[in-house]
Amino acid sequence: MTSRRNAYLCMTSSILLSTAAQLCMKASMLLIAQHHGEGLEFFDRLFDPVVFGWLFVGLVSYAMSMLFWLFAIARLELSLAYPMLSLSYVLVYVVAVNWPLLNETVSWTRSFGILVVVAGVILIVHSEHHRRKRDEKMTPTTVNTSQK
């Protein structure tokens, strides 16, 4: 089942890249805000090498995540792939509360919400895995063709 495994790899890449994109863009905007009060205009600050570096990496990651997303949905059902994207919100939260630069606050409601999201995605992927296994048992020919 290499094509399907590839689709899941594309899915994972898309999730990781969109997480990186959000975090890098946020980091660049935070660095701009930190320069505030030095009398520089927004665009002067934007083209500071470090600020622009974060922004550039963010935008490139964003574009790449969209490309990988396209590869993923070419193989997977939309109703299977789309909910998996929510894992990116989970990763953004985990990094945002642990990365000193962003320093976002942890809250019980948020952390619980994150766990509910993870549970939902696990349920979707797990049930899909079982459904496919069962289908392969019922029609052994699909197992043979998929091993090519």
Binding site: E77, L78, L80, Y82, P83, Y89, V117, G120, L123
Partner: protein, 117 residues
Amino acid sequence: MNNYLLIMLALVFTTSGQLLQKMATMRVVTKADSPGFISQVLVFKETYLAIACLASGMLVWLVVLYHMEVSKATPFLSLGFILVTLVSRYQLKETVTASRWLGVILVTIGLWMVSLS
């Protein structure tokens, strides 16, 4: 215009964008891992409509954020997961099992909680 109507409009644009992206990839005959995949996707009008929808969705969302507090507006974005599942089921004729529905509902509730606080 009413803010909630604008939020719905943003959701409709984003959902249509996802649907059209999927429809574009479904029209491609080569395998997704082959190098010609992207150039083939770029042939179909669905791809450009998808880009237009996603861009419009983003634009309407910015208008929403201009009028509303982020924390009040973002919980509604989680409804997009339900909308995408509905179009997958009724437009793309995908089989959405009970556990997949339950998973989508958990994701929606979870994201709602995250964006509330």
